[in-house]
Symmetry: C2
Subunit: 146 residues, 2 copies
């Protein structure tokens, strides 16, 4: 499969939309003893897992980022993110997912954190973000044209 | 940290509770082209990701397994699983998580698929299963007493 056309069997982060970031930090960081990465701040917490990241982010902010109503019954309060190594790949993956039956929830666009991302949902409404522009992006292929 | 006492920064699988397994397979397997593992069957689908598994399982069955009402507003329709290498570790991790502030949703018990597992929830109600007895369990430590 040519990289950038299809979607590989991987993900970059799982984001849990939380009611209170301090309360979540009290559990995951102080309680379980897990370590926040240096990229964490008062607005988001990242925890490095086995090959991907778990992030904790306010529930309403996540809904807004995903272009979803916070109280909509099909917002499950979390998202799965798939980072890619170029903006064009974000467009390609969203188009590929839509062709596979996904619903585009948020077309790819420049986002507040400086990157470029969009969201699709699977048949049950589970949210996948496709993103580029963060330190979590994979390395580009050598032959890849950014 | 002594293995078996604390909870490592990792997870074994993410389970999405789906309305219709065939519909989900049509998207993830036929649409995205992802491969189901040999352990998959008509009741559950496992997809190997980057160091963990994504599983697709009927929504109502997942709620039942987690001892949760399917229509309960805080059931997000998915769970995160943390597999360990012995039954005693399941008990230890659940006790550790409870001490850290988790709520025990289902005490550890023998389960229908032949393993031993329990569930806790984080402060937002996100579900974590702690399980032993599947092919996804990590290898035991050499000094570990099963």
């Amino acid at each position: 499969m040519k990289k950038g056309k299809g979607m590989e069997q991987r993900l970059t982060l799982i984001t849990l939309g939380v009611a209170d970031l301090k309360q979540s930090a009290a559990f995951y960081i102080d309680g379980l003893g897990w370590k926040a990465t240096e990229a964490s701040n008062e607005e988001i917490i990242f925890i490095e897992m086995n090959g991907f990241f778990l992030s904790l982010y306010p529930h309403g902010e996540l809904a807004k980022d995903a272009n979803t109503q916070e109280d909509r019954s099909n917002f499950r309060g979390f998202s799965l993110s798939y980072n890619v190594s170029s903006r064009s790949q974000v467009d390609e993956i969203l188009a590929f997912a839509e062709k596979a039956g996904a619903k585009i929830i948020k077309p790819a666009q420049n986002v507040f954190w400086g990157g470029y991302s969009g969201y699709f949902s699977d048949p049950d409404g589970f949210l996948w973000e496709v993103a580029h522009g963060s330190s979590m992006d994979p390395e580009p292929d050598v032959e890849e044209n950014n």
